[in-house]
Amino acid sequence: MAQQGEARPSRWRWLLIVVPYAWLFVLFLVPFLIVFKISFSTTAIAQPPYTPVFDLSAGVAGIFDAVRQFTVDNYLWLTQDALYVRAYLSSLVIAVVSTGLALLVGYPVAYGMARAPKRWQMTLLMMVILPFWTSFLIRVYAWIGILKKEGLLNQLLLWVGVIHEPLTILNTNWAVYVGIVYSYLPFMILPLYASLERLDESLLEAAADLGCRPIRAFWRITFPLSIPGVVAGCFLVFIPVTGEFVIPDLLGGSGTLMIGKTLWTEFFNNRDWPLSSAVAVILLLILVVPIVVFQNQEQRRAERERG
C-alpha cells in the first residue's frame, strides 16, 4: 500500500521539489559563483564598476580569452595589506570571545528554565523568544542610549558611587561584546534549553542516591548530556557573528576591526566591487567548515526526530 501511495504522486512530487530547489539554486547558489567570478576581475570606473570577466556571447573563444584576463590582484592585495588580515583575525577573536560569553550567560538561564515548574516553561520560552521578534536594529540601537558617556549606565554607576568619572564604553570593543551577547542570546538559550529539558532527571536522582554532590553531578551528568545543545548554540552564534556588520558599526569604534564592516566599506564607500567580492570569498572559505558541520548536525537532528 505504502508503495502504491508513493508511486502515484510522482508528478506532483517532482513539481514540489523542483520549485523550491530551482529558487534556491538560482538565488542562493548561482550568486556565489558570480561573487567568485567577479573577485577575479579588475575594478573599473564604470557602471557596473568592474570589467566583465567573460562574455558568453563571445562563445568558447571568448571564454578562453577571458580566462587569460583573470587576475588574482584582489587576493594579493588582501594578503599584502595588513589591515585585511587583521580584520579577519579580529573578527574571529571577537566571534570566539562573544560566543563564549553568550554561553556563560545563556547556560544558567537555559538551566533555570528547564528546571522551572512545567506550567511555567512555555511562558518562559515565549519570553525568551519575544525580544528576538523585535527588530535587531532597534535592540542594538537601544544600547547606544545605555552605554554612551552621558548614558543611563554611567548615570547609574555615578549615582551609586562605584565610579567618579563616566566610563567610555560606547565605541569600544566592550560595547560590541555587550551588543553581540545581547542580540544573539536567544540563539544560544533555545538549543541549550531543548537539550536540558529532555534530560532524564532520574539520572540525577540516582547520582544523589549514590552520594554524588550536586555540583559534581552537574559536571559528570548534566553538562555532558547537554553538549549537543552547547554545540548547536555555539554554531548559531559564532557563524553569523563572524560576518556581523550592524553591531560593530553602531556600537564599535574606529578601533573595532571586523570583516563585515570592512566589506561594507569597500562596497559602499570605496565602490570596489571586485575587492569586496574577494573579501566575501575568503570570509566564506573561513566559515565553510563550521557551516558544513552545522548542517550535518541539523540534518542528523532532523533524522533523529523522525525516528
Binding site: V19, P20, Y21, P31, G112, M113, P131, I138, I239, V246
Partner: protein, 272 residues
C-alpha cells in the same frame, strides 16, 4: 517537587531582565519631553506627532510593509514546499545539495548574502529597487519557514495520510485537507517569522535596493548614525508594540486550536 532552587530563579530573572531592560528603557524614553534622550524632562507624546509628520519616514514604513507582506507570503509557500520535500521524499537525487541550500542561509552572514544577490541582479540586468528587495527577502526567509515547518512535519502522524489514501483520497487533496490543516500552526509561525525577518533586515536590503526604494531599517540606520533621537524611539516603540501584539495574538490562537484539536483527537480515540 520543588526543584526551583534560588539559583535557578535568580539566573532566569537576571537573564530576562537583561533581555528586556534595554527595550523597556527605549520605550520609556520615547515619551520623554526633552530632545536629549538621556535626560528625563516629563511625559510627552510630541515625538509621535513629529514622527507622523515625517513623510520620508512614513514612505519608508509603507515600502517596508509591502516588501514584508509579499515576501513573507511567497516565502511561506516555497518554504513549506521545501519542508515537505525534505521530510517526505526520503532520498532523491541532489537531496544533500538541497538541504545544504536550506540550512546554509540560516547562518550565512548578511553581508555575503546581500553582496551575492546584488551581483546576480547586476549580472542579469535586473532593475534594482522594490522587487529586488522582495526577491532577496523571499530567498533567505523561505529557509527559516522550511525549518519551522519541517520540525512540525517530522512529528506528524503518517497513518492519517495513509488512511486517507486507503479511502481513495487523491494525494493533492490529502495534502490540502489532512496535512496542511495539521501543520497550519507551524506554517503560520513561519509566515510571522518571515514577516519579521523582512521588517528587520537592514544589510541585505541595503545591498539589493535601487533608487526610490528605501526601507524603514535603512531610514532608521541613517538617522541613528547621526545620533539617538526621541523620534526614532517613537518609531521603534510602535514597531515593538505591533510585533508584540501580533506574536501574542498568534500564540493565543495557536494554543486554542491546539486545545481544540487535542480534544477532538481524544473524542475520536474514545469513539468505538
Amino acid at each position: 517537587m520543588t526543584r526551583t532552587s534560588r539559583f535557578n530563579v535568580v539566573s532566569v530573572a537576571l537573564g530576562l531582565a537583561f533581555l528586556y531592560l534595554p527595550i523597556v528603557l527605549l520605550v520609556i524614553y520615547s515619551f520623554n519631553a526633552s530632545r536629549l534622550v538621556t535626560v528625563w524632562a516629563g511625559f510627552s507624546v510630541k515625538w509621535y506627532g513629529e514622527m507622523l509628520r515625517n513623510q520620508a519616514l512614513l514612505d519608508a514604513a509603507w515600502v517596508t510593509l509591502r516588501v514584508a507582506l509579499i515576501s513573507a507570503t511567497v516565502a511561506t509557500v516555497l518554504g513549506t514546499l521545501a519542508a515537505v520535500a525534505l521530510v517526505r521524499f526520503g532520498r532523491f537525487r541532489g537531496r544533500s545539495l538541497f538541504s545544504g541550500m536550506v540550512y546554509a542561509p540560516l547562518v550565512m552572514p548578511d553581508v555575503i548574502t546581500g553582496l551575492s544577490l546584488l551581483l546576480l541582479f547586476v549580472a542579469v540586468g535586473f532593475a534594482r529597487g522594490f522587487w529586488t528587495i522582495v526577491l532577496a527577502h523571499i530567498t533567505f526567509s523561505m529557509c527559516f519557514v522550511a525549518v519551522v515547518v519541517q520540525s512540525r512535519l517530522v512529528t506528524f502522524d503518517m497513518s492519517l495520510e495513509e488512511a486517507a489514501a486507503d479511502l481513495g483520497c487523491p494525494p493533492v487533496k490529502t495534502f490540502l485537507v489532512i496535512t496542511l490543516p495539521i501543520v497550519m500552526p507551524a506554517v503560520l509561525a513561519g509566515w510571522i517569522l518571515a514577516f519579521t525577518l523582512s521588517l528587520d533586515d537592514l544589510v541585505i536590503a541595503s545591498f539589493t535596493t535601487g533608487p526610490g526604494a528605501t526601507t524603514l531599517p535603512m531610514k532608521i540606520y541613517s538617522q541613528v548614525r547621526l545620533g539617538v533621537t526621541p523620534e526614532i524611539n517613537a518609531v521603534c516603540t510602535i514597531l515593538i508594540g505591533l510585533v508584540t501584539a501580533g506574536v501574542i495574538a498568534t500564540s493565543v490562537v495557536t494554543k486554542r486550536r491546539e486545545v481544540r484539536r487535542q480534544r477532538a483527537e481524544e473524542l475520536a480515540a474514545v469513539a468505538p
